[in-house]
Amino acid sequence: MIKLSHLTKCFNALVAVNDVCLEVTPGELFGFLGPNGAGKTTTIRIMAGLIQPSSGSAVIDSWDIARNPVAAKRITGFIPDRPYLYGKLTAQEFLRFISGLYQVPPEDTEGRIAQLLELFNLTPWAGELIEGFSHGMKQRLVMSSALIHKPRVLIVDEPMVGLDPAGVKLVKRIFRGLCEAGVTVFMSTHTLEIAEEMCDRIGIIQDGRLIAVGNIKELKEMSGAVGKRLEEIFFKLTGAEDLGELVETLRP
């Protein structure tokens, strides 16, 4: 469903994404991990059609995002890490606007809007201007908008930031439910517990290179950290130092 082939992105001298090759199958929930500045968001922005790769390709259900952006975007839902929205629209108007952009049939629009607002507990604020929403409410609204056209691929950058525990639980259930219905979810996150709990497979990126891909069992074998949790596997693979001594120095 998603195929990244030798994907590379350079910003002048900096190689943000370096020759990444990866395949994600239909109905799979794929976790994309990596330290800050590793290239997660850049990869995701290429997949969402926000920026162009320097070389290589990102193919969504046989559509190359650089060559056929409109066709690829039509079946994709994108949830960014920072929910910048039109503050002067109400939640309902914003969803109507997104329905128009994704060409949701007009007879389905209002029903779907009501359904999604209800699902994400936004019905009481449907007629309020977005500029008055909290970060969590904006995040839930972005998620509603990403689902309004019933996408077959969902690309998500840090979905849990700003959500309350109920919101996190809801999102986990929705993502799992979508995968069971055949939707492919590509999710970047820093929350290792969530990745461990939810993802079928995990890819770890560091300095722009994909250094490991597999399910938890395969990653444990790869890192030689059998029996340990994803956190230890992640630190072992990314080469992060033990911070124990440094933490000691911060004690008051």
Binding site: K88, T90, F97, Y102, Q103, V104
Partner: protein, 566 residues
């Protein structure tokens, strides 16, 4: 005091860093800004100096008039300072992004108050101070003043701006207790705009050109009545006037007393305001976090009306146009500019209605058509200026939400053309309205009416395309205040290109129009060579229009497609 220095540190360093930017566009903008500022500064000085030299020459009455003028200058400055301080104080004390960080940190109230008052004072007073300098300099030179005058001037201006800041901030603090800060800022911007427009219209309506027409003043009594300036309602500005006037006209008598009045009032005001700040600030800050609502545009009638008008558009185009219209109507920084536009149109048409064509030594028909042709250029320029305010920001107003457009299955060509047609319709109505109404007031012939309406319609295509295209080439997604979008480098480039375009069209049409008009006036027919010249000129005009219509949009679309930073 340490905390005040610490709180001011980011501002000072930020300002220093901004100055050290070596970006080419910043340097060009800065150079241009300084040049324009200096020209304006020199203009103010020249006008005031000439007026004061003239007044000085009038026995007895001259000094009174000069003092009255000084009083009016101070009243104007104080009004400007208060208005400007209210708006700046609302931003500095309630809406600045750094406040979350500062209020959550262990900063004491007094330090916060001093820092924010200084910030408000500097941000809202520097321009008034800068442009007051040529006025006071002209007084100093015209009345041959020496060092004591300039010392008293500094001693007067400092407490004067403190008083302005204290009054403005005090009013802002009081208002935020009743209304949310965001709403007050909108209201204040709107009020200042209406005030400015009203003054402008009033000034034009009283026809100041009559002041130099001796026939308008038959008696001295009438003349005295017409110059009677309003008596000072603001005592604070009168003290400032008296301090300066005492030096110029009365040889120091009373200067010190008025200076003391100003300083004591300013400093007492600061202390009283600090007490008020301590009592009400936190409550007002809490209130300022409330959100605003949009009642009118959420009304089902508005929605139904829009649905009906836009029914023929494709779903994605309809979505973009509806979103743009809603955002425009709900953002006071955008729609309030319509008021400025209305004032421009009013003055524009009014000027044509009072043109004394019958007093001219030239034949009326010739003059009417000549002015109508010049009007074409003027209307084109007005259109370009309106487009820089409304059409040029069309791409940038997407702001940081532009990711939604980029991530959507939407061809950017469609997005751009939606923006084009939405603005084109609005600009075409304005352009044709201006041309038809002014030609009607000038009572021009059918040939000139036809040429003007067709030319302005063609130019509207080009101007809209230029503004949208330049807006896409130089987008400013990160600008917080939408009204600032046209003030960037892209806005400047657009205006230069638009003026060149209008100039080329006018120059190319001037010859043929002159030939036809002269033939009509002399009642002769055109020769073959003249016909050829006319056809070539109009063909060149058509070619330029097609080129300017097509190219900027194409470049804009290409630029937006590869844009990665937003």
């Amino acid at each position: 005091m340490n905390q005040v220095v610490c709180l001011l540190y980011p501002k000072i360093i930020g300002f220093k860093n901004r100055l050290s930017i070596r970006d080419r566009s910043v340097i060009i903008k800065l150079t241009l800004g300084i040049t324009l500022g200096l020209c304006f500064w020199a203009g103010i000085f020249a006008v005031f100096y000439r007026v004061l030299v003239y007044l000085k020459g009038i026995e007895a009455l001259g000094d009174i008039l000069a003092a009255k003028l000084l009083s009016m200058v101070f009243i104007t400055f104080l009004s400007l300072l208060i208005f400007s301080n209210i708006i700046t104080a609302l931003s500095a004390f309630f809406m600045s992004e750094e406040l979350q960080l500062i209020i959550s940190s262990p900063v004491d109230g007094a330090s916060l108050y001093v820092t924010k008052l200084l910030e408000t004072m500097v941000n809202s007073s520097w321009m008034v101070l800068l442009f007051s300098l040529p006025v006071f300099l002209s007084y100093g030179i015209a009345y041959q003043q020496h060092i004591p005058y300039y010392c008293v001037l500094i001693g007067t201006m400092l407490p004067f701006i403190i008083i302005g800041a204290v009054l403005g901030t005090g009013i802002a603090l009081g208002l935020t207790l009743v209304f949310p800060a965001k709403r007050i800022k909108d209201i204040m911007i709107l009020l200042s705009l209406i005030l400015g427009i009203a003054l402008y219209c009033l000034f034009r309506y009283v026809q100041p050109e009559k002041l130099v027409d001796p026939e308008s003043f038959r008696t001295v009594v009438e003349y005295f009545a017409s110059i009677e300036a309003p008596t000072s309602a603001f005592r604070r500005s009168q003290w400032a006037t008296d301090a300066i006037a005492a030096l110029i006209f009365r040889g120091h008598d009373g200067a010190l007393f008025n200076l003391l009045l100003l300083w004591s009032t300013g400093l007492a005001g600061m202390v009283l305001l600090q007490r008020l700040f301590g009592k009400v600030y936190f409550e007002a800050w809490t209130k300022s976090q409330e959100a605003s609502s949009a009642k009118l545009t959420r009304h089902t009638v508005v929605k139904r009306m829009l649905d009906r008008v836009l029914t023929r558009l494709t779903p994605s185009s309809r979505a973009i146009v509806t979103k743009d219209l809603y955002c425009f109507m709900r953002d006071s920084s955008q729609w309030s500019q319509l008021l400025v536009l209305s004032a421009i149109i009013f003055i524009y048409l009014y000027n044509f209605s009072v043109l004394p064509l019958e007093k001219s030594p030239f034949p009326t028909i010739y003059l009417q058509n000549f002015i109508s042709f010049l009007n074409l250029g003027l209307a084109g320029f007005t259109l370009a200026a309106v487009a820089v305010r409304f059409a040029f920001p069309a791409i940038s107003i997407e702001g940081e939400s532009f990711w939604i457009i980029k991530a959507a299955p939407l061809d950017l060509r469609r997005f751009m053309w939606c923006k084009f047609w939405l603005n084109f319709v609005f600009l075409l109505v304005l352009a044709e309205g201006l041309i038809i109404c002014s030609n009607y007031l000038l009572r021009v012939g059918s040939f000139m009416m036809l040429v003007s309406t067709i030319t302005i319609a063609l130019m509207t295509f080009g101007i809209t395309s230029l503004s949208i295209g330049c807006g896409a080439v130089y987008p400013r997604f990160d600008v917080e205040n939408k009204a600032q979008i046209p003030t960037g480098f892209g806005g400047l480039i657009y205006m230069i290109l638009a003026i060149v375009f209008i100039g080329m069209v006018i120059v190319l049409e001037a010859g043929p129009v002159y030939m036809v008009l002269m033939a009509q006036l002399r009642r002769t027919s055109l020769q073959t060579i003249q016909w050829i010249e006319i056809i070539i000129s109009f063909a060149a005009v058509a070619a330029i229009n097609v080129f300017v219509f097509y190219l900027p949009m194409k470049i804009g679309i290409r630029k937006l497609s590869v844009l990665e930073k937003y």
